[in-house]
Symmetry: C2
DNA sequence: CTCGTACTACGGTGGCTATCGTACTAACCG
DNA sequence: CGGTTAGTACGATAGCCACCGTAGTACGAG
């Protein structure tokens, strides 16, 4: 056992495993729409993204955890640990490859 | 009371009343995705569209009624009576005005 | 008027889900 | 080590929702 910091991996669907129904269901919730709207204003690079607590939500932290997980399991966002925080970012490239134009259309629509 | 054939009106949300969450929720179901996929192959003009029974679905007729109603109340489809049948057609123009590109992106995605 | 077709309304059932609070773990800072 | 911060796991609850069958309505054909 190396003494390096343990990297807690989180399960993500591969690009091919992303299902349309799951994505639409994940987006059909006002709290989760808000999450992706906020994430949209952050970069997507390896080191970019927002922590869970940076996204202000009108629900408890445990409920917020639930919503982030739904988005991750649907393949909409990527989550990785960074110290005590968890970094969230949109999976733009994967979503664009799988369902071209969908994410942008939803983001534009959510912006009113 | 005129003796003309009674026109049973059905409630539809106006263009401005169409809500994004409702549309996404309506589309996040495999049966309803199939419905709009089939309707997409029919014309949208006043006289076009498909009857409920023309859309083959793997559910009972009462459940099918439920799905058509969800789509109508979300503003995704328009329904009007024509004799004993009900004609269904997509509300393309309204959806495009409200959420540009969304319907097309979903239809493309659903087509695999 | 009777019959068949097309769809609906209603009631019930099981499963999912958004929400919460509480208790917990993981990492970093002194 | 102890404390703080960030997020999670768990259990509970209430509401919604997809589904069905049965009974009923509306319309057109004969």
């Amino acid at each position: 056992m190396p003494t390096t910091t343990a990297v807690r991996e989180l399960p993500h669907p591969s690009r091919e495993e992303i299902r349309l129904e799951a994505v639409l269901h994940a987006l059909a919730d006002p709290v989760r729409l808000r999450i992706i709207t906020v994430l949209n204003t952050h970069g997507e690079g390896e080191g970019n993204g927002a922590t869970c607590s940076q996204v202000e939500l009108p629900v408890s932290t445990s409920t917020a955890t639930h919503h982030f997980r739904v988005l991750r399991e649907a393949g909409v966002i990527n989550q990785c640990y960074r110290g005590t925080s968890k970094i969230n970012c949109l999976r733009r490239a994967d979503l664009e490859a799988r369902f071209p134009g969908l994410l942008d259309a939803v983001l534009r629509a959510a912006a009113n």
